[in-house]
């Protein structure tokens, strides 16, 4: 059984089909990629999974439990965490507070010491040097890392990352790849939306390709690269990863 099971989800915005009977699965302990051109419905899918976007049809299940229609904060407590493509960090708060507030909400449910957890995450994402700066002052790349740290502070089972590598330097991008691999090895299920195709190919065990709100293809990195539809719709050529 998959950690996350999205079945036949349909979302309409007025007359537009944003998602058309999309199904996908994310397994615990691995990174799953969700790629596709702009406007393919990737962020809408994230909003569906986190409950910010109601569905017109279909269901979402976490650990075999149906969570369709469950409110966003309850899904978060059930173990879903995410970052946002357009930054949604708590801008007037410091980096440390961004993480701390998530750890404290978590503490409502168990006894873990939020300040220690926060320090550990600051360290792990190399944010120690900016820990006490206002988050809105940070460059985009590092603000994305703050969102990842904040998401991890909720100690999720499933982590949704919306273009975490955009704005990162090459070195930071490499660090991100290592981090994702380590997190997955620790048992976390990760769903990754990313335009940096080499990064996706490198870390993802399974990839879903969305185009015009429908799943165009799915499979391993190798299968996706070989898929002719994908090449035409999105990747262009296979040289991208060469």
């Amino acid at each position: 059984m998959s950690l996350l099971e999205v079945s036949d989800v349909t979302v309409r915005f007025g007359g537009n089909l944003a998602l058309d009977a999309v199904s996908l699965q994310v397994s615990a302990g691995s990174v799953t990629g969700l790629i596709g051109p702009n406007g393919a419905g990737k962020t809408t899918m994230f909003n569906v999974i986190t409950g910010l976007q109601p569905v017109d049809a279909g269901r979402v299940a976490l650990d075999g439990t149906d969570i369709t229609g469950v409110r966003p904060f309850r899904r978060a407590r059930a173990g879903i965490a995410r970052t946002f493509q357009r930054l949604e960090s708590f801008g007037s708060m410091t980096v440390r507070e961004n993480i701390l507030v998530a750890a404290e909400v978590r503490r409502d449910r168990d006894g873990a010491a939020p300040r220690m957890a926060t320090d550990a995450l600051l360290d792990r994402l190399s944010l120690g040097d900016v820990a006490d700066e206002r988050t809105e002052e940070l460059p985009t790349g590092r603000a994305r890392l703050v969102e990842i740290a904040r998401a991890l502070a909720t100690r999720p089972k499933l982590l949704l990352l919306d273009e975490p590598a955009s704005g990162l330097s090459e070195t930071e991008g490499d660090g991100l790849a290592v981090l994702l691999t380590e997190l997955a090895q620790g048992g976390l299920g990760i769903l990754l939306v990313e335009h940096d195709v080499p990064l996706v190919m490198r870390v993802c065990a399974q990839i879903f390709v969305l185009d015009f709100g429908a799943v165009l293809a799915s499979g391993s990195a190798r299968e996706i690269q070989a898929d002719r539809n994908v090449q035409e719709a999105y990747l262009g050529t296979t040289e991208v990863v060469a």
């Binding site: 978060a76 946002f84 708060m93 998401a151």
Partner: protein, 679 residues
């Protein structure tokens, strides 16, 4: 009831609807082009109606000339001035700033009207109806010519607006959903000119509505009534979701007919029951509230904030206690020096400071805008005095806190799905209903003669003054504890990003209800203390727009002091009370003092953090104090680390100098820009 009566009231209702439609379409035009919801729309209409009265009645100009000057010269000029001086500077500012600046304008225009057409003319002057009381016979009923003029005007406005929107640039700009002035600029519109024409048109429509409706009102040119008529326009415009003019007209017709038929109903009954009159009087407000609750709201919004987020200071407890003790000593000393009216004014300052303090957690921390805080104060006072009686008891404070708190949480329940402007309007509707129904319903309270007593050991003026100050300090420290704790961080998170706070597992319902309840409770204590201080209070002390210290001014000056600053609440209260008092003492500046609250309110566009923060910044610049704790609210200061300057970074547990870091960077082959640090 006969057919002719129904016909008559239908036509009267349609005429009323016509006025509402004219006013509401002005609101929609300005909101669509500038993104600013003009709370002062009714006040603009009031000013233009007064200008017309001045020209027509006092200066005896012929009606056509007076109409031309008032509607086609003064009104557009006023609109252009408002746009040029105020609204243009608001692009990119926060919702709260936008709301408060137009509230400042409202308060300022009311002040202007009082100065120019002195409020001592009581009863207010009368604007004559068009064609006097002449009537037309139609279908067996008598129709006043005035109502026919109104109907014709409404039709002309509808047709005119349609033409303007179809064929001019203003129309293009309005039909495009304008979020971004620069973007419209790229599309070939001149945003500044578009916005100015929208405000000129808006003013014209407000003025037309004012001139048309004043003669039909019981109070005629009563300034507050005319200003509040805007509520009718709010309700109608909300039916059109502030966007659609046809739906706005539909909303106006519903409202006009409903109130006219209720008048007919009342005319049928020999004596209508009290509740019927309550509903009739509050119909626009009720409609506004219902519409707010049923129109589809945006879901939790996922979008990056474009506005600069305000600063929320986070002083240490030590500083808070020192400041609190100093305040108590200061008030005690000043209190000894004052007597009579000045001493009474100082007590009012302290009580109102508590009411303003209630804004700090609610609006300052959590970003929830309420226009009903003074109403909660009144409810707290009212319930407490009913429960503990006029003898006075400390128990009254607890009753006031609990009663206002529970009501606050109950109000928050339907308001949960509202935010920003809609929440402000919803709480405004609530405030007006409470004022019209509950406050006005109790005879002693409506006349302002409800007696409030004090416990015997606090009977003396000075003792009670110090007692109130201590209560302010204790509540202030409570708010500080909230700020410094985990719950305060949650409020701030909710303000910065509702979407993200939900996705980290925060129960927003609970957080919002709690903060609404808590802050309403604080306001309730303030209201009860005010009652006990003055000995008797009532409706006029807790009114949104009438009275000496109206609720709108309370919000305005809370923001001026600094909505997220505990000390700002006290400073705001000092401003609020001192200005009219100074006017009383020095009659030569009385006029200035009437306008002053509005003036300081509208300067906010340039200084949204408030007076206290600005003063603190000045002092910091002067003395080079880099204590970031109170500025940015970092958690680091909880520890006993040595202060870390902005140019220093902690490396391996010790502070590295900039030079060491540069060496480190060189060794790693990175520049400081890579890490996001300006070189």
């Amino acid at each position: 009831m006969s057919f002719s009566e129904i016909l008559q009231f239908t036509i009267l209702g349609l005429a009323t609807a016509g006025v509402y439609a004219v006013a509401a379409s002005g609101l929609v035009v300005t909101y669509q082009t500038s993104g600013i919801f003009n709370f002062a729309h009714g006040a603009v209409g009031m000013i233009v109606a007064y200008v017309y009265w001045e020209l027509r009645v006092r200066q005896h100009l012929p009606a056509p000339l007076a109409i031309f000057l008032a509607l086609f010269v003064v009104a557009p000029l006023l609109g252009a001035l408002i746009e040029r001086l105020l609204m243009r500077h608001l692009s990119g500012s926060s919702v709260i700033t936008r709301i408060v600046v137009t509230i400042g304008l409202l308060v300022g225009l009311l002040g202007v009207a009082r100065v120019v057409w002195s409020g001592d003319i009581t009863p207010p002057p009368n604007l004559p109806r068009f064609f006097g009381d002449n009537v037309v016979r139609f279908g067996g009923v008598n129709l006043p010519w005035h109502q026919i003029v109104v109907l014709i005007c409404a039709v002309l406005v509808a047709v005119g607006l349609r033409l303007i929107l179809k064929s001019t640039r203003l129309g293009v700009a309005m039909r495009a959903v304008v979020d971004d002035r620069e973007l419209t600029g790229l599309n070939g519109c001149n945003p500044a000119r578009t916005s100015m024409s929208a405000w000129m048109l808006g003013s014209f429509l407000a003025g037309l509505a004012g001139i048309l409706i004043a003669p039909t009102l019981p109070g005629n040119l009563d300034q507050a009534t005319l200003t509040l008529l805007v509520i009718n326009a709010f309700a109608a415009a909300m039916v059109g979701r502030l966007r659609s003019l046809p739906m706005t007209f539909v909303g106006a017709i519903i409202l006009g007919l409903a109130s006219s038929y209720m008048d007919l109903g009342a005319a049928q009954m020999s004596s209508s029951p009290g509740w019927y009159d309550d509903v009739r009087g509050s119909l626009p407000v009720i409609l506004l509230f219902v519409v707010l609750l049923v129109i589809p709201q945006e879901r939790i919004k996922v979008s990056a904030a474009t506005e600069k987020l305000g600063r929320i200071p986070r002083p240490s407890f030590r500083k808070g206690i020192i400041a609190g003790v100093s305040l108590v000593i200061g008030v005690a000393v000043v209190g000894q020096l004052l007597q009579g009216a000045d001493l009474r004014a100082l007590g009012v300052v302290v009580a109102l400071a508590i009411v303003m303090l209630s804004y700090v957690p609610l609006t300052g921390y959590a970003g929830q805008i309420s226009l009903a805080q003074l109403t909660f104060a009144g409810l707290g006072a009212y319930v407490a005095v009913v429960v503990v009686g006029p003898e006075g008891s400390l128990l009254g404070l607890i009753v006031a806190f609990v009663a206002a708190g529970v009501i606050g949480a109950l109000v928050a329940l339907p308001a949960l799905r509202l935010h920003g402007l809609y929440l402000a309007l919803g709480t405004m509707a609530f405030a007006l209903v409470v004022e019209n129904v509950i406050f006005a319903g109790d005879q002693n309270f409506s006349s302002g003669t409800r007696a409030f007593g004090r416990p015997s050991f606090l009977a003396g003026q000075h003792a009670y003054l110090i007692f109130m100050t201590v209560v302010f300090v204790v509540l202030g420290l409570g708010v500080l504890a909230l700020r410094r704790g985990s719950y305060g961080r949650r409020l701030q998170a909710l303000k910065d990003s509702p979407a993200a706070s939900a996705t980290i597992g925060m129960n927003q319902t609970y957080v919002k209800l709690a903060v609404f309840g808590f802050s309403a409770g604080i306001a309730g204590i303030g209201g009860y203390l005010l009652g006990c201080w003055k000995g008797q209070v009532g409706q006029s002390d807790f009114s949104l727009i009438n009275g000496a210290l109206p609720g709108l001014a309370v919000l305005l000056l809370a923001v001026v002091g600094g909505i997220a600053v505990i000390a700002g609440a006290f400073v705001g209260a000092v401003f609020l009370v001192a200005m009219p008092r100074l006017g009383e003492i020095f009659p030569s500046i009385n006029n200035l003092m009437l306008i002053a609250p509005g003036l300081v309110g509208v300067t906010l566009a340039r200084n949204p953090d408030g007076a206290v923060m600005q003063a603190v910044d000045r002092v910091r610049e002067r003395f080079g104090d880099k204590d970031d704790d109170t500025v940015d609210g970092s958690v680091a200061a909880d520890r006993d680390d040595p202060p870390v300057g902005p140019e220093d970074f902690v490396v391996g547990g010790r502070t590295a100098s900039t030079a060491e870091l540069a060496a480190l960077d060189a060794g790693l082959g990175v520049t400081r820009e890579d890490c996001g640090v300006p070189a």
